[in-house]
Symmetry: C2
Subunit: 357 residues, 2 copies
């Protein structure tokens, strides 16, 4: 072939870099293997048998990305944890149905494929899958010259799980009088990073750098921002093992914060009364609040220290709390479900917390 002939490599797509990336991640991915996975039966798709023992299996599926938390990873050149965030954002949604995660598929796209960076990213995805007891069954690593700025990448993933139809944690199960338990978050998780970065880092607001120490955190601003999203599967595995409907429903506190997410877990006739006084506010959120972000903006953007809400049969609160704590998950009683006030129409009422009494 003459030297001036066009090849895929000359067009900016490095097949060898792709193959090298695949070699690096193969052994890691193998550690997520689940007994239901099938091998050697097809080269174009992931295959997994349905777990037995389900009367009416219902498939549960979610898709999400990590958002601009990736820009923090890029600025710090630390890529080993955004994959945990990626799995967490999907699995924590999935768990709210009462379902068990089965497998995850990931999509990594970048302008120029650097095998070492891909290896770091996928190591995080693998760690997230292991925390979620699910298989990383498929994925795509795409080298897309001209689509991403130099050194930039994006991540997306899908999680699929299964639940028995009669056991779905449907919002319709939640009743007035149910107790609301909050599961502690590990920090900001993966929501609100455009606002968090602007508040902390922009010259006209916090004017911090990622290397500055973050007061009350024992680490830097960048480290606090990169703290991986907590994956609630260990606690939820214990909750799924409880008899009957001890947990009526659950709300992952994702985009939309404590304002928009709780109502996704109960009917339109109900309201969640939440008192955040007992919730420890993550240092990074205190710093954001101090820069001058209003309380309501914090509540509707961030998890404010509570990554997941459980709506619990009032007779079984101790049992549910014990199950969470037994799985190493801090839990606090935050309030109760009440009938919605028709005059105000409030779907959520929040008081206390955020260091504001």
């Amino acid at each position: 072939m003459s030297e001036d002939q066009l090849t895929y490599a000359s067009a900016g797509v490095d097949i060898e870099a792709g193959n090298e990336a695949v070699r690096r991640i193969k052994a890691m991915v193998e550690t997520t293997r689940q007994p239901e996975q099938l091998d050697g039966l097809g080269g174009f798709a992931g295959l997994m048998a349905l777990p037995g023992g389900l009367a009416e299996p219902v498939l549960v599926s979610c898709t999400d990305g990590v958002g601009t938390k990736i820009l923090v990873a890029i600025a710090m050149d630390r890529h080993a944890t955004v994959g945990i965030d990626l799995v967490a954002m999907n699995v924590n949604d999935l768990l709210c149905t009462g379902g068990r995660p089965l497998f995850v598929l990931d999509y990594v796209a970048t302008g120029r494929l650097e095998p070492g960076k891909i290896e770091q990213i996928v190591a995080g995805v693998v760690a997230g899958c292991r925390q979620s007891n699910c298989a990383l069954i498929g994925g795509e690593t795409a080298e897309l010259p001209g689509m991403y700025a130099d050194g930039h990448y994006d991540l997306a993933a899908t999680a699929v799980g299964v639940v028995d139809k009669a056991s779905i944690w449907a919002p319709s199960r939640t009743q007035a009088g149910d107790v609301i338990l909050g599961l502690a978050s590990s920090g900001l998780h993966s929501n609100g990073y455009s606002l968090a970065r602007k508040a902390l880092l922009s010259p006209e607001h916090g004017a911090m750098t990622l290397d500055d120490p973050l007061p009350g955190s024992g680490g830097s601003v960048g480290e606090a921002l990169l703290e991986p999203t907590r994956i609630y599967e260990p606690a939820f595995a214990a909750l799924r093992a409880l008899e009957g409907a001890a947990v009526r429903s659950a709300a992952h506190i994702t985009g939309g914060g404590l304002i928009e997410n709780p109502p996704r877990a109960y009917g339109e006739q109900l309201c969640a009364e939440i008192d955040l006084s007992a919730v420890e506010v993550p240092a990074v959120l205190r710093a954001i609040a101090e820069v001058g972000v209003a309380r309501n903006e914090l509540l509707k953007t961030f998890n404010c220290g509570v990554g997941m809400l459980l709506f619990v049969d009032p007779e079984r609160v101790d049992e549910v709390s014990t199950a969470c704590e037994g799985a190493g998950q801090p839990v606090a009683r935050l309030g109760q479900v009440v009938a919605r006030d028709s005059a105000s129409g409030d779907a959520v009422r929040i008081r206390g917390g955020l260091g504001q009494g």
Copy 2:
């Protein structure tokens, strides 16, 4: 709230634009509804009952993007078909297992959310799901300021389907003597666009513009490049309805072209002998070849007019061809499976076609 207080909107995230985009796509997505979908049972995940009648259901899953074909859509400001490509790249992989597509989840990420553009993109995803007889059961539209160049976006999707374990089109079913049928592609589908764009559009090679007429195509270069990927579900639905193992296995001709994909559908002791003489070469591929891309580079990058190969029981070739044609899918006999030559080790042997005899 004072005007200088920080809000999520001031950080570049426009919640209202997001809500507007959701309103625009809701009715479209509804048209992909499948009878197994469950509603009102959970607000955090898509829920779908498993279809009945499967002895040992196995879940089949794939994830993929559209690659730099998106840059053509952006340059032409035509976004209504890349969603078809997105579904096609996933569903065509899934079909190779013998599985039936159940649902798709999509991820759309952009720097600044333009509801009208999102609506066009999702209209394509919906069209692809309808062609695939599957539900668009979930998705994420992410506004990520600072991560994408102005006007740019990326797409990823996951498709999930189901197959009965005994009916999987496993590569191990393929035998020497099996006949190879090729299903016509609609054009380049969604692979090799970095090379295609460089070959046709760069000043030092083809020096064409997207608006130039493409010889032999009846349209412009841009229109030929944007031609949606063919979705093979209609043909495969007919093939799945055949008794027994008429089709042993199938190979989607995706990234890696006719060199790397066929061997994914048979064992290491076999070789596919393929004669492309009978294959109509798409005009856009002829133009790329004329610019001076070597034959081997074409074969390992593009589908070369054949989007899918079927490996067929030699006794049942007519039956399989008739099933494809009945579904409107052009099909051609391209060769046969033979024992692999231990001296050369060739997994594929290709002659003819590409206008090169």
